[in-house]
Every structure is written in C-alpha cells, then in structure tokens.
C-alpha cells in the first residue's frame, strides 16, 4: 500500500470520527424561564433535613482537604467560601447543585439562572445553574464566586490577584471547580461524576433529589452534606439547627 493511500485512509477515518462526534453531540437544552427556574430552585433549596441526614455522604467522594493559611474573610466580615469555576466545565456544573443546596442552609441565593455545561466537552450539556450574576446573603458566611468563562469558553469573570493566589496555593493542578472554605478546608474537582445528570432536565434533577435513594440524590446530597460540614467548621457550628445534626457532626469529625 502506498504511503499516500495510508494517509488518505487515515484522513477519511478522522473525518468519520468528527462526523460521529457531531452527530452524537446533543443540542443544549434551552434555559428555563424565570418562573420555571424559581420552581426548580424552590425544590433544591428546601430539601428536608431528615432526607439529607438519611443520605449522609452518600456516594460523594470526600475531596475536602484541610489547608492552612490566614483565615479568609469575606466582604461582609464573615468567613468566606470562595468558588472558582467556569460555565463550560461539566465538573463545575455537577458541583454547583450540592453547593447551592448546602449554602442555602446558611443563607439565600438570588439571581441564580439555569445553564448547562459545554456541548463539546465531556459530559456535554450537564444541567446546572450559574453563579455569574447571582448574589448570596447570609449572617454566617460570605460566598464569593468567579465563573471565568461562559459555556462557550468566552471570558466572563476574572479572579483578583488575591483570589488567583489562593488557587495557585491550594489548587496546584489548576483543576476546577476549586472551592476554598475560609482557608481552612479546600477541594478541587467534582465530588461526583456528572454522568448521573446526563440527558436530564433541571426539573428532573430537582425531582430526583426528593428521593434519597435516587442515583442523583446519593452523590448530590452526599456532597451537600460534606460542604455543609466544612461550612459549619467555619461558622463555629452556627446555625445550630443545621450544624448540630448528628450527620453533620459525624462528617465534621472526618474533616479533622
């Protein structure tokens, strides 16, 4: 076989791979209306504490590591939870669900909008929310987020030099999402794989969280409990109604 024929055959094969990829990549779901988004958020931010307790850490991977540094204080003087991620990133998409569930136990989000991860990345179109444009108020903890790009990887927000320094210090591999709990605990990467959300609508994910045995509830609520425990460590176990639960107390012990 002539070398030219080999090259041509390989070029054809690569073209076929590209066509398969194009054909099998699903279209991104259309973002929900404001009302529909609120309906989903009402479910997500009001998961009953007994259900969270039943799940424990579920099937989430405990990536939370103890770190040492100057205590990180947010703009309102509370311990700061810092998040850096990007809208295209499927692992960030997965992790926002438990973050919203956990942080909603300490305060209130407003302005959260639905989006989905990149259509061309792994775990394409993973349904999620974006922290871009959202605000969070709490009397216990400050939440600061940076979404570096949108789902098409166009620039969105840039970290400050201090935020970038945190990422450089605690996330040497540069993985996202990166979450820093007041410089006492941190993790990077997702605590579960986004494939459990594949092909689901936001509403379907939210509904699945009402069943603690569902394949979505186990990792998402499990991860939410891990995040809740890390935040409780920052707030000195306040509010007690959240942090005094035996499940959270038990997870706190594992965090060290």
């Amino acid at each position: 076989m002539a070398p030219v024929a080999v090259v041509a055959a390989i070029a054809l094969l690569v073209a076929a791979f590209l066509v398969i990829r194009w054909y099998t990549t699903p279209l991104p779901p259309r973002p929900l209306t404001v009302d529909a988004t609120q309906h989903v958020l009402d479910i997500v931010t009001n998961i009953a504490p007994p259900e969270l307790d039943v799940v424990g850490t579920g099937s989430a991977n405990n990536l939370v590591k103890r770190v040492s540094g100057s205590p990180l204080t947010g703009p309102n003087g509370h311990p700061e939870v810092f998040y850096m991620g990007a809208e295209y990133c499927p692992y960030c998409a997965a992790e926002r669900w438990p973050m919203i569930i956990a942080l909603s136990r300490f305060g209130t989000f407003s302005g959260l909008k639905t989006t989905s991860s990149s259509s061309t990345d792994v775990y394409p179109n993973t349904p999620t929310f974006t922290f871009h444009g959202a605000t969070y108020t709490s009397q216990y903890v400050d939440f600061v987020s940076v979404e570096t790009t949108d789902r098409n990887q166009s620039p969105l927000e840039s970290p400050t030099s201090a935020q970038q320094a945190l990422v450089n210090q605690y996330d040497t591999a540069g993985s996202i999402p990166f979450v820093d709990f007041g410089n006492r605990y941190a993790f990077s990467g997702a605590t579960y794989l986004p494939d459990v959300l594949g092909g689901m609508s936001w509403k379907a994910v939210a509904d699945s969280l009402l069943n603690p045995d569902s394949p979505q509830a186990k990792p998402i609520l499990g991860s939410a409990n891990l995040i809740t425990a890390a935040v409780c460590k920052l707030t000195g176990d306040q509010p007690a109604i959240v942090c005094s639960s035996s499940t959270i107390q038990s997870i706190e012990k594992t965090l060290g």
């Binding site: 076989m1 070398p3 080999v6 090259v7 390989i10 094969l13 690569v14 791979f17 590209l18 398969i20 990829r21 099998t24 990549t25 295209y88 990149s118 061309t120 990345d121 792994v122 394409p124 098409n152 990887q153 040497t172 591999a173 540069g174 993985s175």
Partner: protein, 142 residues
C-alpha cells in the same frame, strides 16, 4: 537509509514527548497546552483514558516503551540490518492501530484534542510510513 534516519529522529522525538507527559502525570507541573473547547490536554490526560486500564500508570508510559523500541529498530535499519524490516513494520502497525483508537477516543468520546498526544500520533504515523516504504524496498531487493 535517509528515511530510516528520519524514523530514528521521530522515535527519539516521540520518546521525549512521552517522557514529558509521564513527568507531568507524576508531578504537580501543569501541562504546557492551551485550553479551549476543542484543544484541552488537561481534559484528555485527566480522563479515564489517560491511564492504562484504570491503573496509576499513564498511557504515555506505554508511549515511552513504544518509541524507545521504534528508535532501536530504526537505528538497526540505519546500520543496515535489513532483517529488521518486518519486525519494524509490525511494530509500527501496532502503534498506528493504537493511535487510531486513541484518536477515536479523543474526538468521539472526549471531544477534545491534546496537542502533545497529537504530536506523538503524527510521529507514529511518520514511523509507520517509513517502515512501510522501507519494507517494500527491502522486499524488492530480496
């Protein structure tokens, strides 16, 4: 002979790329690679396909072995050892089949290309083409 020298150079270059990717895997050094939707080394290398069969051994370690042996075979051919023509072609064919599998994974499964991996893939193709041409010539001579 000149083409075999090219295969030798490609083998050594591929060895360098494979060693670099293996060092990146075992250290905290970030991989030097742009990160866009389509080109993203981190995404490819951190995927389950970045290691051999779920182990801790990076796929690039297999690249070290493959390129090292390819370079040795090419060096043998440069030294005039015609009997290495068939082993070289068989080894290159094995490499090319692996590359096509990896390219399928990158494009279809992951939707991202790692430029370091692509560099290694092009070097494998080059070695295969030299082996194929040299094997044909060796057959003509014998």
């Amino acid at each position: 002979m000149r083409w075999q020298a090219l295969a030798l150079a490609a083998g050594l270059a591929g060895l360098g790329v494979s060693i670099y990717l293996t060092v990146v895997h075992y250290s905290a050094i970030p991989v030097a690679c742009p990160a866009t939707a389509q080109v993203n080394c981190e995404q490819v290398l951190a995927s389950p396909y970045g290691v051999i069969a779920g182990s801790a051994i990076p796929t690039s370690a297999a690249g070290i072995v493959w390129f090292a042996l390819s370079a040795l075979l090419a060096a043998g051919r440069v030294a005039g050892r015609v009997e290495l023509a068939r082993p070289q072609l068989a080894w290159a064919a094995l490499g090319l089949a692996t590359v096509l599998t990896l390219v399928y994974i990158e494009i279809v499964e992951l939707g991202a290309i790692c430029i370091w991996c692509t560099t290694a893939h092009v070097l494998v193709l080059l070695i295969f083409l030299v082996s194929l041409s040299s094997s044909n010539m060796a057959r003509v001579r014998t």
